[in-house]
């Protein structure tokens, strides 16, 4: 009887220990590397500091924080365009060199016309996630970004896209940027790097970082052109114009 209780007690302890171990392992797997950014828009009625609204047609769209059935917490971001526009909320995010990041968000949309709906992308980049166009449930948007060098990109949550203005509302929540070790098959991937991406809302053009130079191949072509011009000028100047030779 005593040995039976002891065995039962040992069994309970074993199950508890295994549970603790497995939950710890699961927690570790779920967390992975620390995210560079996590934003669920829980504080304040306006987009958090750093986020800026960029519009194709100025003053046509709005970005606000809405209280309601969010994907995470009780608030989410809403971009509204009563008329067709390409409206984006952008945030600078600094990324390390030689790293792959997963940019993700949960989104839903309603009242859209034809064309792109709620999308996630990088400012001035044409590569963008597939659109979310319905509001029956929160749907994931995922973009994988591979960096060649350290860079500041502009995370962009958009309603519409380049050449695809749209009207309606797009909701975003649980925006995450985190480094990952692999890109799943079929994922949307974009590559960046080489210099620091410009902030679209910089006050002055002069504040922008210097542009990278051209490929050295250009100078080879320039050298050939200089030689061609020099030879041509010498030869042509030695020749009298046709009409001056005529009597």
């Amino acid at each position: 009887m005593r040995s039976g209780r002891a065995r039962h007690g040992l069994g309970v302890l074993l199950v508890l220990a295994l549970s603790l171990l497995s939950s710890a392992a699961a927690a570790g797997a779920a967390t992975g590397p620390a995210p560079v950014l996590f934003e669920s828009f829980e504080a304040g009625a306006a987009p958090p500091p750093g986020w800026r609204l960029v519009e194709y047609v100025p003053n046509r769209s709005t970005a606000s924080i809405v209280s309601g059935p969010a994907a995470d917490g009780s608030h989410f971001l809403r971009i509204s365009s009563p008329a067709q526009n390409h409206a984006r909320l952008v945030l600078p995010v600094t990324l390390a060199a030689g790293t792959t990041y997963r940019f993700s968000a949960l989104a839903r949309a309603t009242g859209l016309g034809n064309g792109a709906g709620a999308v996630l992308g990088l400012y001035s980049e044409f590569t963008v996630t597939p659109s979310v166009r319905t509001d029956d449930h929160w749907q994931p948007l995922e973009l994988y970004v591979q960096t060649a060098s350290a860079i500041t990109v502009q995370l962009t949550l958009g309603l519409g896209h380049f050449g695809q203005p749209n009207s309606g509302t797009a909701d975003f929540d649980a925006v995450t940027v985190a480094p990952v070790t692999a890109v799943p098959a079929g994922a949307v991937v974009t590559r960046v790097g080489g210099s620091t991406a410009a902030n679209p809302q910089s006050q002055r053009v002069a504040d922008l970082p210097a542009l990278p130079g051209p490929s050295p191949v250009l100078w080879a072509f320039v050298a050939v052109l200089v030689a061609v011009v020099a030879i041509s000028v010498v030869v042509l100047r030695r020749n009298q114009p046709q009409h001056e030779r005529q009597p």
Partner: protein, 432 residues
């Protein structure tokens, strides 16, 4: 310079104009379709992205064509066109197709490109477009049709061209240098301003004066070289090397601007490098004009020359047609957002290009060419004649024979021949 030599040079410029419209279309359809031209081992997406530089090539060619008769006059070949003739030709070339775009898009498709979003609403927007000043403010720059901003720049250049041409005829190098200096200085000034709206400030007429100057200089130099046919013949191989090197330099510039899009606003790259793009275009045009026949045939191939012929209307309509086909779902995709469907991307591009070419061909040969060939009065008489001829009971003879008195009277007036229209400088490039 023989007529045949002159025609050869026109062919090369026509080919480059065809290249310009191809570049612009490649850029816009890339934006609309998300179709990137990638094949195993070859990635041509950089050409699609750099296609926006096609507008710069249009400006360059336009100045070249406008100044060519002046350049010939400088060397005692022909007379300087009169101001009236110049204005007549520009108006007939630009206005009918432009007004057709405004009318059709304003009446039937006012929502395609938002109209009247700025101060003054629709009346102000219309007034700005009718006076070709719509590029001055951001709200009207892209209204009616997203590509019309460059037409404003082009027509504004037409207004100052007679004065510039006069100065250029007297002191070509100094005038070109002054124009380049103004453009470079203006863009440097624009770069000291705020980023918001920079792209619009940096694409006003003064910011393009260097491209126009280099186009005019190219016309002058081409005539100067053509006056030395024996030397030009001896230098054919050298010119060919120059043309190939210029083409290589242009592709390298395309790569460069494509790389910039990952690191900063492309407008800044344009602002800093426009004069160099112009210099490369000068080398490409001169080199190609005097290159070996094989290179000239490559540049002035039939496809490019045909695209050049319809380039103005193709420029005006290709984006509109592309947007209509995509946004109205006329070419359906298998995904809710068509650009998510890889098959749709390329098939849509092909369909849109074909539709644009058809529409542009119809307008060019149905409206633009008759007007250029016959003038406004002659074309009106033709239309009237058609109605008079084909009313019940009328005859079916030749147009000139079968028209009524009004037609006969109109046809009796001076008409401009097709050959005249094709003279270099008169058939100026379409606005980019």
């Amino acid at each position: 310079m023989t007529e045949r030599t002159a025609a050869r040079h026109i062919d090369v410029v026509d080919g480059l104009r065809g290249l310009a419209i191809l570049l612009v279309m490649a850029f816009h359809y890339w934006q609309l379709s998300f179709w990137a031209l990638r094949m195993p081992g070859v990635d041509l997406e950089f050409v699609q992205f750099a296609g926006y530089l096609g507008v710069e090539l249009f400006f360059f060619i336009s100045a070249f064509c406008l100044f060519s008769p002046h350049a010939k006059a400088m060397f005692g070949r022909g007379a300087v066109p009169t101001l009236r003739h110049y204005l007549d030709r520009r108006a007939i070339k630009i206005l009918p197709s432009y007004l057709l775009v405004l009318l059709l898009l304003g009446v039937f498709l006012p929502g395609l490109y938002p109209i009247g979003t700025g101060a003054g609403g629709v009346p102000m927007d219309v007034a700005l477009h009718l006076t070709f000043l719509h590029n001055l403010q951001l709200s009207s720059r892209g209204s009616f049709d997203g590509v019309l901003w460059s037409l404003a720049v082009e027509v504004q250049f037409y207004c100052v061209f007679p004065m510039l041409a006069r100065a250029f005829r007297r002191r070509p190098w100094w005038t070109a240098a002054a124009m380049v200096a103004v453009a470079v200085g203006f863009r440097a000034w624009a770069r000291r301003g705020p980023l918001d709206g920079f792209a619009n400030v940096d694409s006003q007429l003064p910011a393009f004066l260097d491209l126009f100057a280099l186009g005019m200089l190219t016309a002058y130099l081409l005539t100067w070289i053509a006056e030395r046919p024996a030397a030009a013949q001896r230098l054919r191989a050298v010119f060919t090397v120059g043309a190939v090197a210029a083409f290589g330099a242009l592709l390298t510039l395309f790569h460069w601007t494509n790389d910039i899009r990952y690191g900063g606003p492309v407008e800044l790259w344009q602002s800093v490098n426009r004069q160099y793009v112009g210099a490369v275009l000068l080398c490409l045009t001169l080199g190609s004009a005097f290159a070996v026949p094989l290179w000239r045939r490559l540049v002035a191939n039939r496809v490019l020359v045909f695209l050049s012929t319809i380039s103005y209307n193709l420029y005006l309509w290709h984006q509109v047609i592309g947007r209509l086909i995509r946004d109205r779902g006329w070419w359906p995709a298998s995904t809710p957002v068509p650009t998510d469907d890889p098959t749709w991307r390329w098939s849509y591009t092909m369909v849109s290009v074909a539709a644009s070419v058809l529409v542009a061909t119809a307008i060019t040969y149905g409206v633009e060419r008759p007007l250029l060939r016959r003038g406004v009065r002659g074309a009106t008489a033709s239309v009237l004649g058609w109605f008079e001829t084909y009313r019940p009971g009328s005859g079916t003879g030749h147009l000139a024979d079968r028209g009524g008195p009004r037609v006969q009277a109109a046809l009796g007036r001076r008409q401009v021949s097709v050959r005249e229209n094709h003279a270099v400088g008169d058939d100026a490039a379409p606005a980019g």
